[in-house]
């Protein structure tokens, strides 16, 4: 169990994290999304105890993480950019990690190397971006971590490597209840993979909710009323987030329980009434629009 309370961090005068709250259950897959520069990587750096917060708390298994070497042993952090000494081969680096971490497992490392088809005689600095990611993933998982934290893990990976990565993660979540925290911009994959999503914006946690609540609490509805003049009255009853009109067809995005919404809409005799669940990407865009990130008609 990971609990973050009112986490705040400033670098000089810039407030990077501003009162973040998080609750991550053991064995869950937790996704962090947010616009560029919203503080995702800084937050992850706090979770692994690399940065020390100005105020607030990060409690992992009932203990503060900063300076807690024992807890750090059971965590793996796959950073967006892997650090390696210039002359080091993959094999050298694996040896380095083996020295560093008590829980390093040579058998696991060997299996992971096979899965990802890694030639460990290569120098890390010579690898492509996607290859580096796969190597970093193998290093992280060779520790048999209790908590796996990944910053943009699938960015730059080909579809097959992505599949492989997820399958290893899934196996460890199912087999030994590994907890996973992922930041990514690939909302489709997060939607399929995560239990809970945290949306960050300008260092604040905007939303933390289970994926079902997020995507099924918001509906996109297309309708045409028999009496269009009653439209404003109908809209007044609903919690409408956005509204568009294409000819006689209205498209609205509404929050709330679908059964209640449907019942209300049916009172107004719709000639056409279609409902779509929103995807995580659409939810994200709508939430961000609410925070002033409107997508304008952009021409240069």
């Amino acid at each position: 169990m990971i609990v973050v309370k009112s986490l705040t961090k400033k670098f000089d005068d810039d407030v990077i994290l501003n009162g973040i709250n998080m609750n991550v259950k053991k064995g869950s897959i937790y996704g962090i999304i947010g616009p560029n520069g919203s503080g995702k990587t800084t937050l992850l750096n706090h979770l692994v105890g690399v940065y020390r917060q100005d105020s607030g708390e990060i409690v992992i298994n009932e203990k503060n993480i900063y300076d807690n070497a024992d807890q750090k042993q059971s965590m793996a952090y796959m950073q967006d950019e892997i650090y390696a000494y210039p002359q080091y081969t993959i094999k050298n680096m694996a040896g380095f990690y083996k020295e560093m971490y008590k829980s390093w497992d040579d058998d696991r490392y060997k299996k992971l190397k096979e899965i990802f088809d890694i030639d460990d005689k290569k120098r890390i600095t010579k690898l492509s971006k996607g290859m580096k990611k796969q190597v970093a993933f193998c290093f992280a998982l060779s520790k048999t971590p209790e908590i796996l934290i990944m910053d943009e893990p699938i960015d730059g990976l080909d579809p097959i490597a992505r599949r492989k990565l997820w399958n290893v993660v899934i196996d460890d979540v199912a087999k030994r209840e590994m907890t996973v925290i992922i930041s990514s911009h690939n909302l489709k994959e997060l939607e399929n993979m995560c239990d809970t999503i945290l949306i960050l914006d300008k260092g604040k946690s905007v939303i933390e909710r289970s994926i079902e609540d997020l995507t099924q609490d918001v509906h996109k509805i297309q309708y045409v009323l028999e009496k269009p003049e009653l439209e404003d009255e109908l809209i007044g009853w609903l919690n409408v987030i956005s509204k568009e009109k294409m000819g006689t067809i209205s498209v609205i995005v509404v929050k709330g329980d679908w059964k209640g919404i449907e019942q209300k809409m049916n009172e107004y005799n719709p000639v056409v009434l279609d409902k779509l669940n929103l995807t995580l990407e659409e939810v994200f865009i709508h939430e961000m629009e609410g925070l002033g990130y409107a997508i304008k008609n952009q021409t240069i």
Binding site: R163, N167, I170, N192, M193, C194, Q216, T279
Partner: protein
């Protein structure tokens, strides 16, 4: 055995529940047959194991499967319940078609026996 539409807007657990129900109703998965483990199914489909767990929980609540501690999940033998569910489902579909025909001005008189529903 199962296919998930990753592009669909329907939640994955819901797709799983529907597909498995279908396999049970069609007798592809037979009474008392062991269901794949959560881990196998999750790996196989590359989805979150907690999603599979959730689907299994719903199937168990609806009486389609039962679980034996330490052994896993099995297909229920109470086929009556399942059949009733299927009948309701098919009648529902039929009523949609009848509704469409009526909208086109075709008057239909019908009666459904077996005491499930009547009009």
């Amino acid at each position: 055995m199962l296919q998930i539409d990753y592009e669909s807007r329907a939640p994955i657990y819901e797709q799983l529940v529907d597909k498995i129900k279908n396999l049970i109703v069609k007798n592809v998965l037979k009474p008392n047959e062991q269901m794949p483990t959560v881990r196998d199914l999750a790996s196989n489909l590359t989805i979150n194991p907690n999603t599979v767990q959730r689907a299994y929980r719903i199937l168990e609540e609806n009486g389609y499967i039962y679980s034996v501690t330490g052994k896993g999940s099995f297909v229920s033998e109470k086929l009556d319940l399942i059949k009733e569910d299927q009948i309701k489902d098919e009648i529902g579909k039929l009523k949609v078609v009848i509704g469409r025909l009526e909208n086109l001005g075709v008057h239909i008189e019908y009666k459904i026996k077996e005491g499930v529903d009547e009009k």
